[in-house]
């Protein structure tokens, strides 16, 4: 729209109407957005084309005028009362006749605790479906972190709890504290920024996000989609210690480890130095004991070997004697004498053993040997 100005010499001047028209047309270029606030000063009259109310920010009391076509407002049957939390979808506009800025509502939704929880649940389902909370995504925490990043508010309790437990358990712990907003509309962005800054610092290999308990709304920034994603994407493992046991902000689900309190988070992050030293010393004692035992075993084996060496010559002699006796036994069993004992006789003629009747003739003299003694004989006949 063209806005006409009047020139008075070197001064360019707008009429009020032209100025308002100009502003109004500029505002029209702004996008349509959702705005959250509490309804106050609801004004509705049958003769008005629109319904008016003021949207109030419960955190800081900031106010915004809102208008909505009456028919549309009535059709929603919201029955709004003062203080009800709503989400308004609309675009900024200028009421030209009065130069009043307000939000032109296109849609309006009640947004109480129930709706809030439902929205959180939808976000949780969406991120879970993406696998952001999957157990296989969880990284192990370092056994001995070189440096620990700690994100807290200037809320002294959570910070003190973490630092006290860290240094009591592991005095050599190095901590880099990033203090930031942990409540209110700036908290999510501030925590994300601190998370990134800490993860870029040299040697930081685990980050603890610690925030004490608070109301549902106080903890909302820790369910902010951007923060939940930043924690899942953080290049170093993150421990989330936000709120109390019963609270489950979504950042708890995306973190690599979750702690019910700040001091539990500290215990997850560092080992117990005294226990560690004890374990090392125990190992060293075992080292000495084991080596000494191996030495003693070796000495005993040497002693045994020597004993056997000493016994060797006698053993050899005995084995030789046994073998000799065995041979003698076999020799005895095979000698002709044993055969004669069984009733056989040996017949010799001129010293040669007679094995056949044809080797002798009648009248020839032979010599007969028996087991005991013998006799001479003469051949009667041959066969």
């Amino acid at each position: 729209m063209k806005v006409e100005a009047i020139d008075y010499g070197d001064r360019r001047v707008y009429s009020v109407g032209a100025f308002n028209r100009g502003i109004a047309s500029w505002l029209e270029r702004l996008p349509t957005v959702w705005v959250e606030g509490e309804v106050t000063e609801l004004r509705r009259q049958a003769r008005w084309a629109s319904v008016f109310f003021t949207l109030k920010d419960p955190a800081d009391g900031a106010c915004l005028g809102v208008s909505m076509p009456r028919g549309q407002f009535d059709g929603l049957r919201l029955e709004l009362a003062d203080g009800d939390r709503v989400h308004v979808y609309g675009r900024p506009e200028l009421y030209e006749a009065r130069g009043e800025f307000r939000l032109r509502a296109l849609s309006l939704e009640r947004f109480g605790l129930g709706e809030h929880l439902a929205a959180l649940e939808r976000l949780k389902q969406k991120l879970a479906a993406e696998g952001l909370f999957a157990p296989e995504r969880k990284r192990p925490l370092p056994f001995l972190p070189r440096r620990i990043g700690l994100i807290t508010g200037n809320d002294a309790a959570a910070k003190r709890d973490v630092l006290t437990t860290l240094t009591a358990r592991f005095p050599p712990a190095n901590v880099l504290v990033g203090e930031t907003y942990v409540q209110g509309p700036r908290a999510a962005g501030a925590v994300i920024e601190t998370l990134r800054a800490l993860s870029r610092e040299p040697d930081v290999d685990v980050i603890v996000v610690a925030r004490g308990g608070g109301s549902f709304e106080d903890l909302l920034p820790f369910s902010d989609e951007r923060l939940v994603r930043a924690i899942a994407d953080c290049p170093v493992p993150v421990v989330s210690a936000v709120g109390h046991e019963q609270d489950t902000p979504l950042c708890d689900l995306a973190a690599d480890a979750r702690a019910s309190t700040p001091s539990v988070a500290a215990r997850l992050v560092v080992p117990d130095l005294a226990e560690l030293l004890q374990r090392l010393d125990r190992a060293r004692a075992g080292l000495e004991r084991g080596t000494r035992r191996a030495l003693e075993r070796e000495r005993r084996r040497l002693d045994r070997a020597r004993e056997r060496l000493d016994r060797a010559p006698r053993l050899l002699l005995e084995r030789g004697r046994a073998r000799l006796e065995h041979a003698a036994g076999r020799l005895r069993a095979l000698s002709p004498h044993a055969t004669l004992e069984r009733g056989y006789a040996i017949v010799r003629s001129d010293g040669a053993i007679v094995r056949s009747g044809e080797a002798v003739e009648p009248g020839q003299k032979v010599d007969v040997e028996l087991a005991e003694g013998g006799f001479g004989a003469r051949i009667e006949e041959t066969r």
């Binding site: 090392l280 080292l287 084991g290 080596t291 030495l295």
Partner: protein, 68 residues
Amino acid sequence: MNEERSFEDAQRELEEIVQRLESGEAPLDEALRLWQRGEELYRLCRERLDAAEGKIEELASRAETARP
């Protein structure tokens, strides 16, 4: 990341060595070698714990002092 990894690895190796030694299965020359390696690992772990000196710093104040 590998410095504290090596601590954990060193501690695990040390404890495995002790186990092997205490099982009594290692022959003497191996036992002596294991003992030497174990002592080395023990020293490594102790140095890692003794050398570290705790420090608590603030990210914001660091950024401020970093500025000229």
